[in-house]
């Protein structure tokens, strides 16, 4: 890995140089989710893994699917025990004037459903569980 020099330009603005190439970069946010913008791309870098970045993924697939943002449940398309295939739309939410499909992240069986149509759910609220 090359050696990088970081020179602050002003609040949140940095110049990064590897000795040859030069970038203008922007950074903000807390240490556990530092947002960095360079050349049209955004990286969210967590503190623990500086040097071991990962793009933060939405719902971690621990079986439970959660609402990504405050939303209204429009339809629940599955029932407990139902087999679903990766990509199937399990639940349709609505927020910000748009429909937000909650899709199956993998082939699985629906274990439980934790919301009902018309309900207003908060971010992180578990909507249903897969086996």
């Amino acid at each position: 890995m090359s050696s990088m020099t970081v020179t602050p330009v002003s609040d949140g603005v940095y110049r990064v140089s590897d000795g040859a190439r030069n970038w203008i970069a922007y950074a903000a946010g807390p240490a556990d989710a530092r947002w960095v913008f360079i050349d049209g791309r955004v990286y969210v870098i967590d503190a623990a893994s500086r040097g071991m970045p990962r793009r933060k993924k939405g719902t971690d697939d621990h079986g439970a699917l959660a609402a990504p943002m405050p939303a209204t449940v429009v339809t629940v398309n599955v029932e407990p025990g139902q087999r679903v295939a990766r990509g199937d739309v399990l639940i349709m939410l609505e927020a910000m004037k748009m429909e937000l499909p909650v899709k199956a992240p993998r082939d699985a069986t629906v274990k439980a459903i934790a919301c009902r149509e018309g309900e207003l759910v908060q971010p992180g609220f578990p909507l249903l569980e897969l086996e």
Partner: protein
């Protein structure tokens, strides 16, 4: 001219209209819901008035509240922006009843053009073609097959009650016609409880090309040329440009004349847009009337950049009874403009809308770049409204120069704190089909996945180095958590 205009909208378009008022020496009055008390559109206006709680139905869609606000602030006109009440004939009528000028067409014209059926009839009467199609009154297989043959292959069989593409069947030849009719009817019944079918000529790889028109109250109507908006997804436009690479001067003239004919047949007033489906390119292309939008479009800036005309100012002048100051012959297109819509959404997660604070937000300021936005750094993208953050418009002498300019500007447009589609837009602007202008309305359906696939990637060393440096900077210099606990609530009523 008006003395004071109420802007019945929020976000970038409210800011845009209040600036036009400022340039005309007209006072602007912003309205706001509780969610928008700190919004830029409120601070930008000369006056501001609360109209209700966050839900649009109780604020930006609440006709009584808005008319009341206009009366209390003694406004003599209302600009509706786009969306919300802009195409609501009851709102236009309520303004007139309250003695306030509605900056837009008359209520009856909004109503007429708001009905797809009535609008198509008006277009046909004006001699403007619509996509051939029919709902045969005899719904037997044989009658539907006859209708399909009369329209000509390829045809589309659609549930008459449907929408959104569900249950649609494409039939390209005689052999598959009867089985397709049976299947389409079954699916229509399953999805909508009604098996009635509509038969329509299928336009393959159509482009969405629309014509801006402007009509004064003295029977003068001009068009301001086309906008191509083929890059759309779920009927939401993402990229718009003008001129369209698909148009030749002769085709442009024909489409412009068709749009003016529709506007004239409708008794149109003020700014409006006639949308067409374009089949093919060049002089031999066919175009079909789709619908007319009886308001300012989101994508109006590309027209402004290329014609040199300020459409919002023109809207206000026309509403005040002024004559259009130009004839059709005096209008021209110069150069090229491309607009990209920056949405708060995550392209890596099905374009899921994002809400949250703009921890860092800096708009690129460079020659040929215009950004229309309603936010500033530190603002909150609210869950209550649409996720449009800003429109970035790049103008240059050629399409290629405008495209490169848009790319450079997006590369210098940091938005941190929420995910946006900026990197997706960059991939799109660099897609070979976009570069060559081979567009159609299914572009994002066919290319969206490959565009998204190019977005993933680990943080490069330079990003990691900046993240670390920011640690140091933030440790020594704690940047305020503008959107943490609210230190502001104590700030009311300072005596000045």
């Amino acid at each position: 001219m008006f003395r004071r205009i109420l802007i019945a909208n929020r976000g970038e378009i409210a800011v845009r209209v209040s600036r036009a008022c400022g340039e005309l020496g007209i006072e602007s009055v912003a309205v706001y819901s509780d969610a928008d008390a700190r919004a830029l559109h409120v601070a930008s206006a000369d006056r501001a008035i609360r109209i209700g709680p966050a839900p649009p139905s109780e604020s930006y869609l609440a006709i009584e509240a808005i008319i009341g606000a206009a009366q209390r602030t003694e406004c003599d006109a209302v600009h509706p922006g786009y969306g919300f009440l802009s195409e609501n004939p009851r709102f236009a009528a309520a303004c007139v009843e309250a003695g306030i000028t509605f900056i837009g067409p008359p209520a009856d014209v909004i109503e007429r053009m708001g009905s797809k059926i009535a609008a198509r009839q008006i277009a046909q009467r004006a001699g403007v073609p619509i996509v051939p199609g029919a709902t045969p009154s005899d719904q037997s297989d044989a009658a539907i097959a006859d209708a399909a043959r009369a329209i000509g292959f390829p045809v589309l069989l659609k549930p008459s009650e449907g929408g959104g593409g569900i249950g649609m069947k494409v039939v390209r030849e005689e052999a598959s016609l009867l089985p397709a009719i049976a299947q389409a009817r079954r699916e229509a019944r399953a999805a909508f409880g009604d098996g009635t079918l509509y038969v329509e000529r299928l336009v393959e790889r159509p482009r969405h090309v629309e014509i801006q028109v402007l009509a004064d109250h003295h029977d003068q109507i001009v068009h301001l040329f086309e906008r191509e908006c083929s890059i759309q997804r779920r009927h939401q436009k993402v990229v718009e440009e003008t001129p369209s690479v698909a148009l030749t001067p002769a085709l442009r003239r024909r489409m412009g004349e068709a749009a003016v004919a529709v506007a004239r047949a409708a008794g149109y007033r003020n700014a409006g847009t006639v949308e067409f489906l374009l089949d093919g390119t060049g002089d031999a292309a066919r175009f079909y009337f789709l619908e007319m939008n009886t308001r300012l479009q989101v994508e109006h800036p590309v027209t402004e950049q290329v014609t040199g005309i300020d459409l919002v100012r023109a809207q206000i002048a026309v509403a005040a009874g002024e004559r259009l100051p130009w004839t059709q012959a005096q209008l021209s297109q110069r150069g090229h403009a491309i607009e990209v819509r920056v949405y708060a959404e995550d392209p890596a997660r099905d374009d899921l809308p994002q809400a949250g604070p703009l921890l860092l937000y800096r708009e690129p300021m460079m020659p040929g770049i215009r950004v229309d936005s309603g936010v500033v750094e530190g603002a909150e993208i609210s869950v209550h409204y649409d996720p449009l953050v800003a429109k970035l418009i790049a103008s240059a002498d050629t399409r290629e120069a405008a495209r490169r300019r848009a790319i450079l500007a997006l590369r210098r447009y940091p938005i941190l704190g929420i995910r946006t589609n900026v990197s997706f837009l960059l991939a799109l602007l660099e897609h070979p089909r976009f570069v060559s202008g081979e567009l159609d309305t299914r572009f994002l359906d066919s290319e969206g996945e490959s565009l998204r696939a190019s977005l993933d990637g680990d943080a490069p060393p330079e990003a990691l180095a900046v993240a670390r440096a920011a640690d140091e900077a933030i440790r020594s210099n704690a940047r305020p958590a503008v959107h943490g606990n609210d230190p502001w609530s104590a700030l009311r009523d300072w005596r000045g």
